[in-house]
């Protein structure tokens, strides 16, 4: 057994990485006959000025404290935050689940084999789900509970120091929050939740969070209306462009209604779709109009961007955005909100925020996949599956399946419109994360993009190649259907990194596009394989 990192190494007083993932022996890939590209190294500048003491990658760019006093203050802040995590007034939102996860782990390691990151890394000890949780747990029993000799016997010991805390901060961003570990735990302990709560501690007490999620994410959304930076003016302009473009492409008149009071449906897309995958919102507009749905989008700030990054790291940001989503719907007096193809947006608004929305804000929320299934099976669209006669597989976004239970609608649709549809193994509620979950898909600082493509997305890469094993070298284009913007961003980067289009003609896209591609009324060739 190779010597690995031990828990006590987290306390090492230096800032050197505990191990080097960039040169580690990762889990072997069956179809890789050439080596993956080498990792981009961390620059000297980053090494000198930031905390990179975990695995030779860096997601947070945490500045190194300049004095002992600064370090001590940071440690104090962490301890204060630690206490707050276990107080009802500060964390009623997740207190019961967190306490249960703190107190019942028996260290059986049943969760270890469920974690795709742990497996993909070649079983690097720091990525073991219990490694991270054990650090927090020991800190909890020592600093929040009474500590003492009996506690040390029962729970182990730990000494909080800045190097440990800095490493822990980075480590909280090496988990996709996919919760496969929680699914397999016989005690009901949730290591994904623990990573989530750690992130909250860092953000809510110490103001530490990835720029992509906070300043350029939730804050930008609250300031101008969208994390993409689109204002109401630019989003309407872009949608106009898309409507025109799609009308040209399909031969059908496509028009997106804005701010229609009393509409049945308020559709909210992940605004990223509009910029990066415009064929998706275009397809939705076409489908909803063809099906005679009375729908609208909202140009109110935040009302046209379904994202809610706070779900991954901060309760205040989460609540703020969720309430504003519901508010946009309330103002338009719609009958229901339909969430576009975005996994975390589903979970945020339909599930986690559910109990926050009461009275007039408690407007029903439905998945777009459910609505699309209803439309496709109703016969309102004239569909010709022969137009989708190429291999298709389905990537299940974690937030839709394991975390929300929306599993069948997308499959009912695919079985009708994609004659060569085949499942990945495993799939449904047992799916694997794409590797972009919990915000990683939009994070590429330093060599974190390499981490995402080589470790985070490794399992998914294997699954994709397995799913198309029978036609890998046939030369025909193959479609990975991924009904989630974040997943698509990750798949785009993953496929580009490993040259999947060049080598095997494997592309990806959403679900709505496949539906439109099968519509007889539409000019053939809606799916533009160039945009793989």
């Amino acid at each position: 057994m190779k010597p690995g990192v031990r828990l006590r190494d987290m306390m090492r007083p230096d800032s050197e990485p505990l191990f080097d993932i960039t040169h580690a022996a990762l889990a072997p890939l069956p179809n890789q006959n050439e080596a993956a590209p080498p990792w981009k190294p961390l620059t000297e500048g980053v090494r000198q000025s930031c905390e990179c003491g975990l695995d030779n990658t860096c997601a947070l760019n945490l500045p190194r404290p300049k004095s002992r006093e600064e370090e001590a203050a940071l440690v104090d802040a962490f301890v204060r935050g630690l206490h707050k995590l276990f107080e009802a007034r500060n964390n009623w939102t997740f207190l019961q689940p967190l306490l249960l996860s703190m107190e019942h782990c028996v260290g059986c390691q049943t969760c270890a084999d469920s974690c795709h990151i742990f497996e993909a890394s070649g079983r690097a000890e720091v990525y073991r789900p219990t490694f991270r949780s054990e650090v927090l747990r020991r800190a909890y029993f020592k600093y929040v509970k009474s500590g003492g000799a009996l506690s040390r016997m029962q729970h182990g010991d730990i000494e909080l120091s800045w190097p440990l805390i800095a490493r822990l901060a980075e480590l909280s961003y090496r988990c996709n929050l996919c919760r496969r570990c929680a699914q397999s735990c016989p005690m009901g302990v949730d290591n994904g939740l623990i990573a989530h709560e750690l992130r909250k501690l860092f953000s809510q007490e110490m103001g530490i969070a990835p720029k992509e999620l906070h300043e350029n994410g939730s804050m930008l959304q609250l300031r101008v209306g969208s994390s993409t930076g689109m204002t109401p003016r630019t989003v309407k302009d872009n949608i106009d462009f898309i409507d025109e473009d799609i009308s040209e492409k399909t031969g059908l008149e496509v028009h997106t209604p804005w701010d229609v009071e009393g509409a049945d449906v308020l559709l909210i897309h992940n605004a990223g779709e509009i910029l990066a995958w415009p064929e998706n919102p275009g397809a939705f507009a076409l489908i909803l109009n063809a099906a005679g749905i009375k729908w609208t989008m909202s140009s109110e700030l935040v009302g046209y961007d379904s994202i809610n990054y706070g779900l991954w790291y901060d309760d205040a940001q989460f609540a703020r955005v969720a309430l504003r989503h519901a508010e946009a719907a309330r103002r338009l007096k719609v009958k229901k909100i339909v969430i576009g193809e975005c996994g975390h947006a589903h979970k945020a608004l339909a599930v986690v925020a559910d109990r926050l929305l009461s009275g007039e804000l408690n407007i029903p929320r439905e998945s777009s996949l459910t609505l699309l299934r209803e439309i496709v099976t109703s016969g309102r669209l004239d569909l010709d599956p022969a137009r989708n006669d190429f291999p298709v597989t389905l990537h299940d976004p974690c937030n839709l399946v394991r975390l929300m239970g929306v599993v069948e609608p997308q499959r009912e649709i695919l079985r009708r419109i994609a004659p060569q549809f085949r499942e990945m193994t495993p799939h449904g509620v047992d799916n694997y994360c794409c590797g972009g979950g919990s915000g990683f898909a939009i994070m590429s600082p330093n060599n974190f993009g390499d981490w995402r493509a080589q470790v985070g997305g490794r399992k998914k890469l294997e699954q994709v190649m397995d799913a198309f094993a029978d036609c890998l070298r046939s030369g025909e284009p193959k479609y990975v259907c991924a009904p989630c913007s974040n997943c698509k961003g990750q798949l785009r980067d993953l496929f580009a990194y490993h040259d999947l289009w060049e080598r095997f003609r494997i592309g990806y896209g959403g679900l709505a596009e496949l539906i439109v591609n099968a519509m007889r009324d539409v000019k053939p060739g809606f799916i533009d394989w160039e945009w793989h």
């Binding site: 260290g107 300031r223 901060d314 205040a316 925020a353 109990r355 009461s358 599993v407």
Partner: protein, 305 residues
């Protein structure tokens, strides 16, 4: 000496019950949390349980009734409790010993329960079948002790020999396993002692505080060890059976939608709480409630409405 044993017995039981109640009181009254369920949720109807679907798969789900199939939950609980289903599926190597270990407990518990009932009957009457049934029950109890002992030993070996388990096993965990194994061994051996009083005799004695019952040293040692453990269980990880109930019922399977504002009352009291988080964007300022904080906009400085 026997009297001390009886006192220890009642004290341990009281301690156990009190400790468990304390744990339950720790978890039960916590404020309603935000939804954090995990699929598959077993109380969903059979058509959805197969693929782990939720009511979100139904069009306009809020207009439809939401039947809950408690039998589904029960089925999972039984499989989890008695067959350690998730360990079997995801950690087969460890499952054998853990299963034996827990099965041993269940047999002991069942055996004790039956024997207590039989003792109760014996006060009123003395049917012919009492002794034979008691012997069978004792037999199961002995088998349980043997399984527990074997399971504890193998689990201990796993945790000592395997690095990935050893790193996450604390000193107390080794002690727990060792003491459980030792207690089981002593009880087993003690039960076979020449002068052992027999289960019915012992239980009857406990009810009557009969100091005339003689308990051999080996058995007494085993009993004291086991009773000490029993009293201590709720104060350690061994009480995971309590946490597990809440983890599954209150979190993993809690998919109750906020229809008709069912949660509004609980959540509004939580929203009135005043958090103290320090980050600037959070905007706690020491005196604002969650409701005010959520209405505020740290990016523009405005409040909603």
């Amino acid at each position: 000496m026997t009297l001390l044993l009886y006192i220890a017995l009642y004290a341990a039981i009281a301690c156990f019950v009190f400790g468990c109640a304390r744990r339950v009181r720790q978890y039960a009254p916590l404020p309603a949390h935000l939804r954090w369920e995990l699929y598959p949720v077993p109380h969903e109807p059979p058509t959805r349980i197969q693929h782990g679907g939720s009511y979100f798969e139904e069009s306009d789900w809020w207009t439809k009734p939401r039947p809950r199939y408690r039998a589904g939950e029960l089925r999972v609980m039984i499989a989890e409790i008695f067959l350690l289903k998730s360990v079997r599926e995801s950690n087969r190597r460890l499952w054998w010993s853990s299963q034996l270990f827990h099965l041993g407990f269940y047999l002991c518990f069942a055996s004790c329960s039956v024997l207590i009932v039989l003792t109760g009957i014996s006060f009123a009457a003395a049917p012919a079948w009492l002794e034979p049934v008691a012997r069978i029950a004792s037999g199961f109890g002995r088998a349980g002790l043997a399984l527990t002992m074997l399971g504890a030993l193998v689990l201990l070996l796993h945790r000592i020999r395997e690095r990935e388990l050893r790193d996450y096993t604390h000193p107390a965990d080794y002690v727990h396993l060792a003491v459980i194994g030792a207690a089981a061994a002593l009880l087993l051996a003690g039960g076979y002692s020449v002068s052992a009083p027999g289960a019915l005799g012992l239980i009857r004695g406990a009810f009557l505080f009969d100091s005339g019952v003689h308990v051999p040293v080996l058995l007494a040692a085993g009993m004291l060890m086991a009773l000490g453990l029993l009293a201590y269980v709720p104060y350690s990880q061994m009480a995971h059976f309590i946490g597990k109930y809440f983890a599954f019922h209150s979190v993993r399977w809690d998919d109750a939608p906020n229809r008709q504002d069912a949660f509004a009352g609980q959540i509004s009291s939580s929203l009135a709480l005043r958090p103290t988080w320090s980050a600037q964007h959070f905007g706690a300022a020491g005196s604002r409630s969650w409701a005010e904080i959520a209405a505020a906009n740290p990016a523009t400085g405005e409040a909603r409405k």
